[in-house]
């Protein structure tokens, strides 16, 4: 259908132009002057400039900058040459100098001043370096003193106190070991019908390491690194309740003991410090079992002891003025010396009075 329509459209009726139209059109034809060549074929003046100015403008700016820089470099080179020339000539000349020469002389004097200043600075730096080297030497000496054994750098009093502190630390570590030992026994008993382990080696699962079975102060005893190499020779502590059932019903029963420090570990897990040494009378043997009796009651303090105790408290607060604040009798001074080890050296007559 569309093809038919197209055919019909192509055969649409035509028209004959009216007479005289051709002549009128021919009359309209202009002369040669009015018909010019196409404008597109004749580029307008300056067309290339309009097309190329975006590229040419930066190029022109760059060239201008280059020219200016070249001129500046030339000037700088000339000035440098003149400075060099003037620095080679004597500073004071008999003949008059030009303005440029004066400027150069000024510049050279400034440079000399700068050199002098730098020299002073270098001297100061050298002195500081010397001081630093001295400090470094002292530092090395101090380090050597610190690294050396305590006896070398400490006074006898300091050495003694240090030894005491060390002994105290070892004692505390020993107490800690006994606590772990007691805990391991309790754990083992809980897993085995409240029966204590037959020996120390049985608690290998309950104890983290065999190292805790050696008292830190027991320097002669070797320490077992592993349970596989552990023997009783690697244990400092005495295990007093092996292989017993329901032993925890007697909380005062001694479970373990350190022969060095005298610490005792009880069945209930507690550890009493230095009891075996300071109060051996508190340990009682009954039916082959060791118990720690209750601490005997202290007799009531008499008036002298109360006075001495007050003095000791005052002495601890301020040792210099304690003798003036709390007056002691001879008996009280003796108690003070015997019990607390405090000796009053600067006794005044008033101190002798009650």
């Amino acid at each position: 259908m569309n093809t038919d329509i197209e055919k019909l459209l192509r055969k649409s009726p035509g028209f004959t132009p009216p007479a005289g139209l051709r002549e009128r059109l021919i009359e309209q034809i202009p002369g040669k002057e009015t018909v010019s060549r196409p404008s597109v074929l004749k580029p307008a003046s300056g067309g290339w400039l309009r097309r190329w100015w975006p590229a040419l403008a930066p190029a022109a700016v760059s060239v201008a900058c280059a020219v200016v820089l070249t001129a500046q470099q030339g000037t700088i080179r000339e000035l440098k040459a003149s400075i060099q020339t003037l620095s080679q000539t004597p500073a004071i000349e008999s003949k008059p100098v030009s303005n440029r020469a004066v400027t150069a002389v000024n510049t050279s004097s400034e440079m000399e001043q700068e050199i002098n200043r730098l020299k002073e600075l270098a001297e100061r730096l050298k002195a500081e370096i010397g001081q630093l080297q001295q400090l470094q030497t002292e530092n090395v000496k101090l380090r050597a003193q610190v690294a050396a054994p305590p006896e070398l750098g400490l006074t006898p009093e300091e050495t003694e106190s240090l030894a005491k502190a060390k002994e105290k630390a070892l004692s505390i570590a020993c107490v800690n070991n006994l606590k772990q030992f007691g805990l391991a026994v309790r754990v083992w008993a809980l897993d085995n019908n409240d029966s204590n382990p037959p020996n120390v080696l049985s608690m290998s699962n309950e104890l983290s390491t065999p190292k805790i079975l050696v008292c830190p102060a027991d320097t002669n005893r070797p320490v077992a690194a592993e349970w596989s190499s552990f023997t009783m020779a690697n244990c400092s502590y005495e295990f007093l309740v092996p292989n017993e059932k329901d032993a925890d019903k007697e909380p005062q029963r001694v479970l373990s003991r350190c022969p060095i420090h005298g610490h005792i570990g009880l069945i209930d897990g507690s550890v009493q410090s230095s009891i075996a040494k300071s109060h051996p009378d508190w340990l009682v043997e009954r039916d082959g079992r060791t118990y720690m009796e209750d601490q005997p009651k202290q007799p009531p303090m008499d008036a002298d002891e109360q006075r001495v105790k007050a003095f000791v408290e005052s002495y601890r607060t301020d040792p210099a003025t304690a003798a003036f604040r709390v007056k002691l009798t001879d008996m009280q001074i003796k108690i003070l010396q015997d019990r607390y080890g405090i000796v009053l050296t600067n006794q005044t007559p008033s101190n002798q009075q009650p």
Binding site: I5, L9, T34, S36, V40
Partner: protein, 188 residues
């Protein structure tokens, strides 16, 4: 043998006035027919043809030969027509009577009467199309310009020309069908 239009343009530019006469003889009939169909009467078509060629001579200097001379002149003619229509407030479309009084050239008496009716109906319907589609139909079918020449003359893309022609044919087809059914109903 028809002279080449481009050579005639170049010759006229170089001062050969006979080339201009040859250009007129080559194109004035087609331009007149184009404007005659668009404008609808002889007088206006003749005036518009004169204006067209006047503008051709004015713009011949700026003609860069990017399109064919034919499409260039048709483009000028179309713009002259559009300017004239705007200036005079003309309405679109030709009367049906006008097309009935101008039967198809070459139609023989033994042609089918129904076909003649269809032609008249078709040309009527072409005039009822939108102006840009109608101008495209005129250029391509009536003036026998190629698709490219039509596009150049109307200042649109070739694809637009194809689209407009397809739109015109579909619209004409649908209108012819409805007209046919109406005629049949009347006869009954």
């Amino acid at each position: 043998m028809e002279p080449d239009a481009s050579q005639l343009v170049r010759a006229f530019r170089s001062g050969d006035k006979t080339a201009a006469v040859q250009l007129i003889e080559l194109f004035y009939g087609r331009v007149y027919n184009f404007l005659r169909r668009l404008a609808g009467n002889e007088t206006d078509a003749a005036d518009l043809t004169q204006q067209t060629f006047g503008r051709v001579w004015q713009r011949l200097g700026s003609f860069a030969e990017r399109s064919s001379v034919s499409s260039w002149i048709h483009g000028i003619a179309y713009h002259v027509y559009v300017d004239w229509r705007r200036a005079n407030g003309r309405t679109e479309g030709r009367s049906a009577e006008w097309w009935e009084g101008h039967p198809c050239v070459g139609a023989t008496p033994d042609e089918d009467a129904a076909s003649a009716d269809m032609k008249a109906m078709l040309y009527r319907q072409v005039e009822q199309l939108a102006s840009d589609i109608r101008a495209t139909v005129h250029c391509h079918y009536y003036q026998e310009l190629t698709l490219q020449e039509t596009a150049d003359a109307l200042g649109v893309a070739t694809s637009t020309v194809k689209y407009r022609l397809r739109q015109a044919l579909d619209e004409l087809q649908s209108k012819l069908r409805s007209d046919k059914s109406l005629t049949t109903d009347r006869h009954r």
